[in-house]
Symmetry: C2
Subunit: 224 residues, 2 copies
């Protein structure tokens, strides 16, 4: 739905400038932050850590990145750290996202099944105009995708069989988890998600039930 | 937000006619169903029963009402029972609800904090056009209002202090629970909710932070 890399680089560039660290490439900083996402969730998915929301993981990941750049976390200050983590609430949508979701919503309930916590998705939706019918996902199921519980709890909450639910996503690893849980799958290509670099989960590609160039294309394929 | 009594009477009248029980007043049937709501939640609130969603309680309450009218539940049939319970998903909004919420949404995030489960509120919202930013409430917190956990979990999920959250409700008992948990309170009068009969929680009336004749009035009082 959103271009996290451009948004996180833009905001991080501002904070890095306020710390007089304009020597750091904001896009490299954004990539370093994001690279810690899958490892950060691993302990929760593996069961060795109780569920915590993504805002909490984003904070820990940020402190880790700052350390890697030899930036003193205490010197950043609590207010700036909190606001920096909130950059994930202020991402811009891909240009087709609002129109695509609005079209899909006419025919289907559209529900956010994100690893982001509710207030993250809510802030993002209000800012970007994403017209979700409901926000479910990790905080609701207390499980991170691709843990099967994240997909199955969503189907149960919506009172549908898993096969009546379709995950729409840009990530093959996520779609693979959905398919293993019996959901239908729709891939939406985001070729510039990683700034033109190959997606880290490219090897998880399969033939999905639908493949679309963007959300408007998907809506048209589904007769919306 | 919705006129449950008219909606449940309308739908129940249809089902009762299909069972050749036109002798039963549909409004009396709706009142009998609703009367079982607080007792049905009591075991969950009291801790003697694990949390179950309101659709499940509505089903049990319906079977109990049918028994009270000497209607054989098995004779009603599973498909009709399921659909009858879903009548609670198909309630009409009060005439000011959509405009009032739309006005409030421009300035504030508007979140459903209902005892209804997610799919109930979602179906209702899609049918009625209620523009929720998110659906929280009992299924999310695994607690029924006025259990303090229902209010406090909502504040925590929205990452605000309880005093930054305002419960908007037509029920004094609900607002009393919110106030005990530190929320702000806004009462919206629904004088015809019980068909002109006095509200069963009238004795729980207090001076609330805001009192409004409808949701548009509340929006105007809040500068929306």
């Amino acid at each position: 739905m959103v271009d996290w890399r451009t948004g996180i680089a833009r905001e991080s560039g501002r904070y890095l400038a306020s710390l007089e660290r304009t020597d750091i490439d904001p896009f490299a900083f954004a990539d370093a932050w994001r690279m810690r996402y899958v490892p950060a969730m691993a302990a929760v998915i593996g069961g060795s850590r109780p569920f915590v929301v993504l805002d909490t993981l984003h904070r820990e990941m940020l402190e880790d990145v700052l350390g890697a750049y030899e930036i003193d976390v205490a010197g950043v200050g609590e207010a700036r750290l909190v606001d920096w983590v909130r950059a994930w609430h202020r991402l811009d949508p891909w240009s087709d996202a609002v129109e695509g979701l609005t079209r899909l919503k006419k025919r289907f309930p559209i529900v956010a099944l994100s690893n982001g916590n509710v207030v993250l998705i809510l802030d993002m939706a209000r800012r970007a105009g994403l017209p979700w019918d409901a926000i479910l996902g990790a905080e609701f199921s207390r499980a991170y995708k691709p843990d099967p519980r994240a997909y199955l709890a969503t189907a149960q909450t919506l009172a549908v069989d898993p096969g009546e639910l379709c995950l729409v996503a840009a990530h093959h690893s996520d779609l693979g988890g959905a398919r293993k849980s019996g959901l239908r799958t729709a891939f939406v290509d985001r070729p510039s998600e990683y700034g033109g670099a190959p997606a880290p989960d490219a090897s998880a590609r399969q033939e999905w039930d639908w493949t679309a160039s963007d959300l408007i294309d998907l809506a048209l394929q589904l007769g919306c």
